[in-house]
């Protein structure tokens, strides 16, 4: 079995007296893409900078491809780590053309002709070969990020680090670039760490997701687990709408529990164990059913419509395909088939 | 990153290099002078030709600035000058009294007229203080006294700035019939003070003033260029000032400094003075001479020197508001 592409053990980073990261563990297998998900200021960039070697560790250690590259006593220089970085603001050098930028990491490899060939191959792979002689100011945002990606690819590293590479792109460009990143990284058979505050990206792209809050890892797992079994309400809301009802669940069988609201009750599918109240995703509930509620707010999302219902135990958001069929103030019944147990907020 | 220490060292090296370039070697002769640039240049060129191993540095400025610099340097104990060459003899008497000047006997000292030399400084050229008027002298100005006339605007150079004006103050101050009262009367009739004799000539040429006290040299240069002015050799007499030169005690190189004075008094040096428009102190050398019949007075500078502080204070009382 080959070495993991990345092992972070109890990594801590301090800026002066501020803890940016506290005891973060993270492992990535070769070829695996791990998304680091968290709001701004949660420590995503600090983690990437620690892995890339831009900041020293105050505790813990980092291994890349089986080589210890950082611990509190020392650090391998960034240029000697087997990583390729794609930066949030592209970080293209304003005085270098696209071709010169991509050639920059290649300077050690062989002849000028080889470099030229490699550069045009890389730019071609990303569909920006025709922009080779342009300066960054002459490129659009999406083109800039493609050049930036080509620059990271040029090192053929064992580990890619992506620092919110799509944060400044418009939605249509974003999707295209995400696919590009996935395809290129897959082709290189390299691992990747992808920092983002966008849960949609994280869930769609990653093999596993690490959720960061205030410098601490609060949850690691496959995307489905992150979405369906969040550790708490905060983590749940990071990945999408979620309602928590102020009512105790009563376990009935392994993986099942009873939900009682007023006169009605239901035996439902139930995951989690730590807490006692139900967290409900909109698609786990439906309109019509034994529970009664009043429609408070309706928001039409195109393919779906979300209804916020006032129940006796707080509000619950119910999602349904199709256009709205109820208006605020209507009374309605509703139902739920599944819940995830969490602690009260 | 550039190491701060390395950059600091670079800074130091450049500064030292700049210092080195600016001179200060042993064979450098430093001359402080108020003599016109062209004259100094001509004399120095001749000297350097004869003494290729001596490098000459010249500080040329108006008399007031030269003497102030010497005072400042004396106070800080770093008198830089080896040779001093001034416009008026008064400051020289001060340096002589303070034992700053070397007493010696230059070659050709005896060719300088007796009343233009002492045992430590020697006259090099003769400046004449005259009246400059508009072309054709339309106001009929013939005598110093004619300048006291409230219908005329009259300009006088500042004695604290120009050595020649200082000399004029010395002469009038002690001369019976003039005295400081002469300046009081001038001031009362509306005379104004400007900086230099050149300013006086410029002002008259422009038509700003009717007349003024100036150096005959300045008036001649402007008239030769075409300025509409005229020189009047006034009654009772134009004032002669014998621009003196001296060597400071402790001058380095001593031979170079004395050699320079020898050169100035030699026929080559005197000819250079004559050819740049000044009357040589040594007679028989080619140069501009006063017209026949012009009265010229050689004031007794020693007596003036003894009274100079009173005169300067009295003048200031008249012309400073």
């Amino acid at each position: 079995m080959s070495d993991p592409a990345l092992v972070c053990s109890s990594v801590g980073v301090r800026y002066g007296s501020v803890d940016a990261l506290v005891s973060v563990d993270l492992e990535a297998a070769p070829g695996e893409l791990v998304a680091v998900l968290g709001p701004s200021g949660s420590g995503k960039t600090s983690l990437l900078h620690a892995i890339a070697g831009f900041v020293p560790l105050s505790s813990g250690s980092i291994e890349i491809g089986g080589h210890r590259v950082a611990d509190p006593t020392g650090s391998t220089a960034p240029e000697h780590r087997d990583v390729g970085v794609v930066f949030q603001h592209h970080a293209l050098w304003p005085h270098l053309t696209a071709a010169e930028t991509v050639a920059f990491p290649l300077h050690r490899s062989a002849t000028a002709a080889d470099i030229e060939a490699e550069v045009s191959e890389l730019l071609g792979r990303l569909g920006v070969e025709h922009l080779a002689d342009r300066l960054p100011v002459e490129l659009s945002g999406g083109e800039q990020q493609r050049v930036s990606l080509a620059r990271a690819l040029a090192r053929h590293p064992g580990l890619f680090l992506f620092d919110e590479p799509t944060a400044h792109l418009d939605a249509p460009l974003r999707t295209g670039l995400l696919e590009e990143i996935d395809r290129q990284r897959g082709r290189e058979q390299a691992a990747g760490i992808y920092a983002t505050h966008d849960a949609g990206e994280a869930l769609a792209l990653a093999d596993r997701v690490l959720v960061l809050r205030a410098g601490r890892a609060v949850q690691v797992g496959p995307p489905i687990e992150i979405y369906e079994q969040p550790v708490d309400v905060w983590a749940a809301e990071l990945t999408g709408p979620a309602s928590v009802l102020d009512v105790e669940l009563t376990p009935t069988a392994p993986g099942r529990a009873r939900l009682a609201l007023g006169p009605a009750e239901r035996d439902i599918e139930c995951t989690g164990g730590a807490g006692s109240v139900p967290l409900i995703r909109p698609e786990w509930a439906s309109l019509g059913g034994p529970f009664s509620a009043t429609v408070e707010y309706v928001s039409y999302r195109g393919a779906r419509t979300e209804y916020r219902l006032m129940t006796g135990a707080g509000t619950v958001v119910v999602g349904e395909d199709g256009p709205p069929r109820l208006a605020p103030g209507d009374d309605t019944g509703w139902d739920v088939h599944r819940a995830h147990r969490v602690n009260r907020r | 990153m550039i190491k701060p220490a390395r950059a600091g060292a670079l800074l130091l090296v450049v500064a030292i290099a700049a210092t080195a370039c600016s001179g200060g070697g042993d064979a450098t002769l430093t001359i402080y002078t108020s003599v016109t640039q062209a004259t100094v240049d001509a004399v120095v060129a001749g000297f350097e030709e004869a003494n290729p191993d001596v490098r000459v540095e010249v500080f040329r400025a108006p008399t007031g600035e030269v003497t102030a610099r010497i005072e400042t340097e004396r106070r800080t104990g770093s008198l830089d000058a080896d040779v001093i060459w001034l416009t008026d003899p008064l400051s020289m008497y001060r340096y002589q009294a303070d034992d700053l000047l070397a007493t010696w006997d230059p070659d050709g000292a005896d060719t300088v007229p007796a009343d233009a030399r002492t045992d430590s400084f020697w006259g090099t050229r003769v400046l004449h203080l005259v009246i400059v008027t508009r072309e054709g002298n339309p106001d009929g100005i013939e005598a110093w006294r004619d300048l006291v006339d409230s219908s005329l605007s009259v300009a006088l150079p500042d004695p604290r700035f120009a050595g020649s004006a200082f000399a004029a103050l010395g002469y009038f101050g002690l001369e019976p019939g003039f005295g400081l009262e002469f300046y009081e009367e001038l001031r009362a009739s509306g005379a104004v003070q400007v900086s230099s004799p050149g300013d006086v000539v410029t002002g008259v040429a422009e038509g700003r003033y009717h007349a003024g006290l100036t150096l005959e040299f300045s008036a001649r240069v402007a008239a030769d260029k075409g300025s509409p002015i005229e020189t009047v050799w006034p009654a009772p007499a134009a004032i002669a000032v014998t621009s003196p030169i001296a060597v400071f005690d402790g001058a380095e190189p001593k031979d170079g400094a004395r050699g320079f004075v020898d050169h100035v008094l030699s026929s080559t040096g005197q000819a250079a003075i004559g050819s740049t428009g000044w009357t040589p102190a040594v007679t028989g050398i080619d140069g501009p001479l006063p017209p026949d019949g012009a009265n010229i007075v050689y004031p007794d500078w020693r007596s003036v020197f003894e009274r100079q502080d009173d005169l300067v204070a009295g003048y200031a009382a008249v012309f400073d508001d």
Binding site: G53, P78, P105, A152 | I2, A68, R160
Partner: protein, 522 residues
């Protein structure tokens, strides 16, 4: 830190020691001595009036070039900025040659401005020289796109152009107006060439001219002490002004300068006649005086008409003697040395600034604001013992005064380099050294060149400091011009001033060109 102490701390310390040498009582006595008090008062009021005039002119021009759709706005901007490189004393000599009695205008039309040689002339010419500075500060604020949006929202709310200007635009740039006034005040306070050229005949005396006279023309220790006290006073007044400026200016940049430039955004209609007035202003303040200067330089003598019959190049022949060429060479070497040293020093400041925080950057600005007169006297007290009468002492003063000109663009340029650009280099496998060579150095090069050029241009025509510090064998170009001016030879002075203006203009050309190429790139 050592550098800062060496360039400024130690000399100013010596200045303080010298001022207090006879005890505080004597110091107080000197400060309140009539002449000092009068000179200080003159300096402050002339600077205040000149700064106000300059601000008015600068703001009007800035509104025209930045907020109106005037034709040839770019050219006008270049014209205003170009007047910044005219050495102030050359400007004073030109005005004198053109507008004073017996000048060009008098010669042609019989009209002249007798007030020019006196307080009024000193104030007006200083104001005209300082106006481009005020212009730059105000124009930078007006260029913000936010101003355009806010103006148009006022128009959409029913306010007319005049009301919008009064209620929206000017209040919005008020911090910049205050900063512009203070910058103008500090620059006017330091002005030496203008009062010395235009004021001497009328007995105009400011702190700068009085210090110069006390140092250059008086042998009395008391006069020197007085000069030291006046130099300190000057520095103090300037410091107060600059401290106010920096705060105001920071506020101005925060509130207004945030947005991108509004190049090409919707602009207001140009008021009728404004463009004519602006071009007229440039012609009257810069074009005509230069013409007057040149005419005087080619006229054979004072007091004859400047008609072709009287034209000659003799004045140039007389002016361009050995002494001139030596001084030119010396000034060029000094300016080059000052430019190189200022760049190195600015680089060190930027490094220290990164390590020790923002306050250090302001230090260079303080050095620039302290009038050259004070710096020259301080440097001569501090280093005169070792360096008196050498070119090195002038060099020290130049670097102390001008390092800010190299520091500002460099610091801005360094601040503009996002740390990710450097990280991207390291992450691409480049060593720190290679990152410096291939990435940082090329990015900083324009700033280094611009800073160096600015220092060079200002050093090559520097008069204030070299007039106090020069000694045998190290006259600078400007000192030679001043010497001819004082001897009272106006035609040769004009010839020299013309040559000096051409030299400075030539030296400044690459800068204007660089500026344009940057603007083009942005």
């Amino acid at each position: 830190m050592v550098l800062l102490a060496g360039l400024l701390g130690y000399p100013i310390g010596r200045l303080l020691i010298e001022a207090f040498a006879d005890g505080p009582a004597e110091l107080a006595d000197t400060v309140f001595r009539d002449v000092v008090g009068t000179a200080a008062f003159s300096s402050v009021w002339t600077s205040a009036v000149a700064a106000s005039l300059a601000l008015g002119l600068g703001t009007a021009l800035a509104l025209l070039t930045e907020r109106s759709d005037v034709r040839g706005g770019r050219l006008m901007r270049a014209g205003v900025v170009a007047t910044l490189v005219v050495p102030p004393f050359v400007s004073a000599i030109s005005w004198q040659a053109t507008y004073a009695p017996f000048g060009l205008l008098d010669d042609l039309t019989g009209l002249s401005a007798p007030w020019l040689e006196g307080w009024a002339g000193v104030v007006v010419v200083i104001a005209v020289n300082v106006a481009p500075l005020a212009y730059l500060v105000v124009a930078a604020a007006l260029r913000s796109s936010r101003i355009a949006d806010l103006e148009w929202s006022a128009r959409a709310s029913g306010a007319g152009a005049g009301l919008t200007l009064r209620l929206i635009t000017l209040p919005l740039v008020r911090p910049a107006l205050a900063a512009g006034w203070l910058v103008g005040f500090a620059a006017s306070l330091a002005s030496f060439g203008v009062p010395v050229v235009l004021g001497t005949r009328a007995g105009v005396e400011t702190l700068t001219t009085r210090v110069y006279r006390a140092v250059a023309f008086s042998a009395q220790p008391a006069a020197f002490r007085e000069a030291v006290v006046m130099a300190l006073l000057l520095a103090l007044i300037a410091l107060v002004a600059v401290m106010l400026t920096d705060r105001r200016y920071a506020a101005a940049s925060d509130t207004v300068l945030g947005g991108p430039t509004s190049e090409g955004s919707r602009r207001l209609r140009t008021p009728r006649g404004a463009a004519v007035a602006a071009w007229g202003y440039l012609v009257v303040t810069t074009g005509l005086p230069f013409a007057g200067l040149v005419l005087r330089a080619i006229t054979r003598a004072v007091g004859v008409s400047a008609t072709p019959a009287n034209w000659t190049l003799a004045n140039f022949r007389q002016a361009l003697d050995d002494r001139f060429w030596e001084a030119l060479g010396r000034s060029a070497v000094l300016a080059l040395g000052a430019a190189l040293l200022a760049i190195v020093a600015a680089g060190l400041f930027v490094l220290v600034q990164r390590a020790a925080g923002r306050g250090w950057g302001a230090a260079t600005l303080v050095m620039f604001a302290i009038p050259g007169t004070s710096i020259a006297l301080a440097v001569s007290l501090g280093y005169g013992r070792w360096l008196a009468n050498t070119a090195a002492i002038i060099l020290v003063a130049y670097v102390a005064k001008l390092v800010a000109l190299a520091h500002r663009p460099l610091a801005a340029s360094v601040a503009g380099i996002h740390p990710d650009l450097i990280r991207a280099g390291r992450a691409s496998g480049a060593s720190a050294r290679r990152v410096l060579q291939k990435l940082i150095a090329p990015l900083l090069r324009p700033a280094l060149v611009a800073g160096g050029l600015l220092v060079f241009v200002f050093a090559i025509h520097e008069l204030t400091m070299s007039s106090i510090l020069h000694g045998p064998g190290n006259e600078t170009l400007a000192v030679v011009v001043l010497d001819y001016q004082q001897i009272g030879d106006p035609t040769v002075t004009a010839a020299l001033a013309t040559v000096l203006a051409l030299i400075v203009g030539t030296a400044a050309l690459p800068f204007l060109w660089l500026r344009r190429s940057w603007e083009g790139r942005r």
